[in-house]
């Protein structure tokens, strides 16, 4: 009977016996170097968010700048300050950085007033990334809530550009209401890719909305997945992690196959200023990407 009822045994996983490693280090490259960049394009996504395309000015520097999905940069607007922003663009788009930015504070409000051609500084990339290599050959769940689609867009690009490396891909996205949907012009493009399922849900529908209404976990109801052959990436507001990851757990996905990107206030990006501390973990160096098992072991993480 035991053989017939395939029961997933977490202890058989290779990395089960390894202790959670809170001191993994990101591969930092030239973190104190400022790349001068120019705004080449601005795309209005919603009332609060804009997508900025930046091009690094120096062609030589353009070649040296590369990043992995999930990493972030420090964006500096001279005279206003520096903010950590997840990269939303494709890693293959060399020398160009796409950042989706919500108007939230001094720096970002200033940036929303800037036009094409304005120059800024970019430092980085910083932090850990989603382990896209490890995920090869598995089903992928990409789940985002609200502004979480901004960091998730980089792995979406990676998965769609390396389509043959992955099995089924489910992209799930939810927001409060239809006016807050980001990148709505790209849904069709993603949806039409072979083996990619896209579902979008809103909490409050308006007259034009024809899709499903409810919380993001509703999209996962009745979904059939094989836990040990699936990886999940979850990006969104802190309150979302708990619900989505619990649901994923019920569906059989082990905690160390769920990856989340934590948000923290950051200032130096070099593991010094203590602002992003979660216990002895410096989010800017050891994060922002953690597996959910590690997050559960970090106090005050969410």
């Amino acid at each position: 009977m035991n053989i017939l009822l395939h029961r997933y045994d977490i202890t058989q996983e290779d990395d089960f016996h390894a202790l959670p490693d809170f001191n993994r280090k990101a591969t930092l490259q030239h973190v104190d170097k400022v790349y001068k960049a120019e705004i080449t394009n601005i795309i209005r996504l919603t009332e609060m968010e804009k997508l900025f395309h930046f091009r690094i000015l120096d062609p030589k520097e353009r070649d040296t700048f590369s990043f992995l999905p999930g990493q972030f940069v420090m964006l500096e607007v001279p005279g206003y300050g520096e903010v950590p922003i997840s990269i939303s663009g494709s890693p293959t788009n060399k020398g160009y950085v796409e950042l989706c930015i919500r108007k939230a504070g001094v720096v970002t409000s200033m940036l929303h007033r800037a036009g094409r051609g304005a120059r800024v500084g970019i430092r980085g990339p910083f932090g850990t990334h989603f382990p896209m290599g490890k995920m090869k050959g598995s089903d992928i769940l990409l789940i985002a809530g609200g502004l979480g689609l901004a960091p998730l867009r980089a792995p979406i690009f990676h998965v769609t550009e390396n389509r043959s490396d992955y099995r089924n891909v489910h992209i799930m996205y939810g927001t409060k209401d239809p006016s807050q949907l980001l990148f709505d012009y790209q849904y069709k493009q993603w949806e039409r890719i072979d083996g990619v399922n896209l579902s979008v849900i809103v909490e409050r529908a308006d007259d034009t909305w024809k899709g499903p209404v409810g919380l993001i976990t509703k999209l996962m109801d009745g979904m059939k997945i094989v836990g040990d052959e699936t990886y999940a990436i979850v990006c969104g507001p802190p309150v979302m992690f708990k619900f989505v990851c619990n649901q994923l757990g019920k569906m059989g996905v082990p905690m160390h196959r769920m990856f989340v990107s934590l948000e923290r206030r950051m200032h130096c990006g070099m593991g010094k200023c203590c602002r992003c501390n979660i216990g002895s973990t410096y989010t800017c160096v050891d994060g922002p990407v953690f597996d959910y098992w590690s997050v559960m072991n970090l106090k005050e993480a969410i």
């Binding site: 104190d32 504070g105 036009g115 979660i278 002895s280 106090k299």
Partner: protein, 351 residues
């Protein structure tokens, strides 16, 4: 390690020699007038500005290595473009005379953080240019607890030379290469060591005086902190705390900072690194309005846990030298000694 004797007169001449050689000399000195008068570390030009027998200065020597505000670079805006200007930082050769052992130990503890991943050039540059001549303490007051964190009023940690007061002068222990260099450069000021016994007695008396203030063992405290993050003790700990951050600004080991662009006029300014503290609400506030450390209790728990559990786990050092300044400076009466003693009791250690 070797020992020498330094008389009062020779110490005064040493200050003169150092100043004449173009070295910056920093020592405890009375400053301010009337009710504002207090003892502080500051640059002195003459030996008589130095006050070595009046106890612990108000602030620590942290700011010699990590100034409260410092310019990282300057920027100029031009229409759509900007220009960055490097700021040249000179690391002036400095000798600190009369640093209390709790202050001398602090930079060595913070060295670990400043060098663990990215190496902080500004910190290291100043550290290398500075020689610390520490002065054994006779125990300041009831807020001292250096012996409870593994140091002591005669601790040599972080010091290049330790002076122990004896009759007519000081018994000097030369501890590091930097200390040796100082003795070599100004050899005529140092005499043969002859009062090791008297110095030993001074040290014992001072130790006994401070040990009476707080008797706890940091090891069980660390274990307790690791396992009691959600303890109800944290629920009421910070009722008296105003969240002003005075404790962090007088702390010799607190090292949190903020990086801000400060305008100087309309089109130019500087990016500065300023001291900051985890005790303010905005310290961890997210752009979305969510705050992972939303209450003052959580923020104070962070302060205690960071010093006695998190930092030791990562860097094998307690992020506290027991100077007691936080307890003296607090306007609300938060007392780290009381907290450590409470935790020590809960942890089952001696209290």
């Amino acid at each position: 390690m070797s020992a020498k004797t330094l008389t009062q007169a020779d110490l005064a001449s040493l200050v003169g020699d150092l100043v004449a050689a173009g070295t910056r000399v920093v020592a405890p000195s009375r400053t301010g007038v009337g009710p504002l008068q207090h003892l502080d570390y500051r640059e002195i030009k003459k030996a008589d500005e130095m006050t070595l027998d009046a106890g612990l200065p108000k602030r620590s020597i942290k700011e010699l290595f990590f100034p409260p505000t410092e310019v990282l670079f300057r920027w100029k805006q031009k229409k759509n473009d900007f220009e960055l200007q490097e700021v040249e930082t000179k690391f002036q050769k400095t000798v600190v005379i009369g640093a209390r052992p709790c202050d001398a130990a602090a930079p060595e503890i913070v060295d670990r953080l400043m060098n663990w991943d990215y190496k902080d050039e500004l910190w290291n540059g100043r550290r290398e240019a500075t020689t610390i001549v520490a002065l054994a303490c006779d125990g300041q007051d009831k807020s001292c607890f250096c012996t409870a964190v593994g140091l002591g009023p005669d601790s040599t940690k972080g010091a290049d030379v330790l002076l122990v007061p004896v009759k007519g002068g000081y018994h000097a222990e030369i501890l590091t290469a930097k200390g040796e260099a100082l003795v070599k450069d100004f050899g005529k000021r140092f005499g043969e060591a002859k009062s090791a016994d008297e110095a030993g007695k001074f040290r014992e008396t001072a130790r006994a005086k401070v040990e009476g203030n707080l008797k706890v063992d940091p090891k069980p405290i660390r274990t307790w902190l690791d396992g009691h993050f959600e303890d109800k003790y944290w629920g009421e700990i910070a009722l008296r705390c105003h969240g002003c951050g005075a404790c962090a600004s007088v702390c010799p080991t607190c090292h949190c900072f903020d990086i801000v662009d400060e305008p100087e006029g309309i089109y130019e300014g500087a990016r500065r690194r300023n001291w900051d503290t985890c005790q303010t609400g905005k310290f961890t506030l997210h752009g979305s309005g969510h705050n992972p450390r939303g209450t003052q209790n959580m923020r104070f728990r962070q302060r205690v846990t960071h010093k006695f559990a998190i930092y030791p786990r990562k860097f094998e050092e307690i992020l506290c030298t027991g100077c007691g300044r936080c307890a003296r400076a607090c306007p609300g009466g938060m007392d780290l000694l009381e907290i450590l003693s409470d935790i020590g009791q809960m942890a089952g250690g001696a209290a």
